[in-house]
């Protein structure tokens, strides 16, 4: 009897990617909430000993780790709407943009929210540059995947939701409707998809967690700063 479990965290965009993919394919699964900040479960540490992170998909007792690896696994294992295209060249381009999102966009955008001073300015510039590149790929398309959402859209979830909340809390202005009209349109369409909007963490809950972290960072920075006479 096939058994699917997902070790995840309500607030993690990486974890939510997997939930979207499983729901897209109509796969029933048991969700196991991990307390990733305070205490990770022994099972999580058993199934992902290398990184000790969520998400981890467990299928027939075998674990798969890393959200992008899991997404490809889901597409290869279950029938239903395709997450990746069939054509090898198109698949390669999807993988290219997925890598660009996770290796370039996400780190720069995350850094832009959490750093300060010169480091923050540099991160904001980089994030803007990367977002411009993304904006350019959306010409004439409703989604990165074309008419329906695909792997690039699923992986870009942090831009549409998490980053929009964070940039406001961080008091920075990077992704605006004026500077990125196509991305803005994409976000609206994306967040309107039932499979996406039904699988997002509550904004208030996420805001509260981020606010607490901003405060903790500020307190730590103040404690570390030399006192001035």
């Amino acid at each position: 009897m096939a058994e699917v479990k997902l070790f995840g965290s309500w607030g993690s965009p990486f974890s939510r990617r997997i939930e979207v993919a499983l729901k897209l394919k109509g796969v029933e699964y048991e969700f196991i909430e991990e307390d990733i900040y305070n205490k990770k479960s022994p099972l999580l540490l058993k199934y992902n000993p290398v990184h000790k992170k969520v998400p981890v998909l467990l299928h027939n007792g075998k674990p798969i780790c890393e959200s992008v690896v899991i997404l490809e696994y889901i597409d290869e294992t279950w029938e239903g709407p395709s997450i990746l295209p069939k054509d090898p060249y198109e698949r390669a381009m999807v993988r290219f943009w997925v890598k660009f999102l996770d290796e370039k966009c996400f780190p720069a955008m995350w850094q832009a929210c959490w750093s300060i001073g010169e480091e923050q300015e540099k991160a904001k510039e980089e994030a803007t540059e990367f977002l411009k590149i993304l904006e350019g790929t959306l010409s004439g398309k409703k989604f990165f995947g074309g008419d329906s959402i695909g792997m690039v859209d699923i992986v870009a979830n942090f831009i549409a939701y998490w980053f929009m909340i964070l940039q406001e809390l961080a008091g920075i202005v990077v992704l605006t409707k004026e500077k990125f009209p196509k991305l803005n349109e994409w976000m609206n369409e994306y967040l309107n998809c039932s499979i996406i909007k039904e699988n997002l963490p509550l904004k208030d809950k996420l805001t509260a967690v981020f606010q607490a972290r901003f405060q903790a960072v500020a307190v730590a920075a103040a404690a570390a700063a030399p006192s001035v006479k």
Partner: protein, 234 residues
Amino acid sequence: MENKDSTVKLVGFWVSPYVQRVRWALKLKGVEYEYIEEDIFNRSHLLSELNPVHQKVPILVHSGKPLPESFIILEYIDETWKHNPLLPQDPHERATARFWAKFAEEKLFDAAWIGLCSEDDEHEGAVKSSIEALEKIEENLKGKNFFGGDRIGYVDIIIGWISYMLPIWEEVASMKIYDPMKFPAITSWISNFRKHPVIKEEYLPSKDEMIVYFQWRRKVLKGTFPPVFSMKKN
């Protein structure tokens, strides 16, 4: 019947380990291709035309369509020329291969590169991380000829740089990451990899040229002198 525009070209740089992966993959598949050397320190229009986002090598051009990034190119090659598969057929084994390729790249390759290009604390930290990563790879190679088992595959190609480039970096930066006494499974793997009939016949940059090149890169990236010359391979 062949599509008349089914030509394969590889735009590369003589010493790039990323390009080397693509060479190995194409050779393993028996795919003929035209190699185009690009001096990455004196770029031609080719890089911005074929890889506008990153302007880096390798770039595979198949039937006129360009593809960058060694990981992506390797999967494309495997999906396009299906004989001698590089990735396993079983989805869970494929996922495992992709996981380890990513791990090796982020935790070993990137860390070793930082070790090559840095000094003091940063250097020490990078060497320590690299050794920890190598230990995990060692665990996963135990009892196997190649990463996937008996046959050479995707992960072996991705980590192939260990067999010829890591020792060069270690020499240039006076660091010890791979100690044969501590890593018997890797030592055995290196031997299997280098002796593989396809790998051993394929081009590799010369040891002397690599030492000169990486000594220069280490100097530049440690910030001690500006890059005033390019390393053109004749």
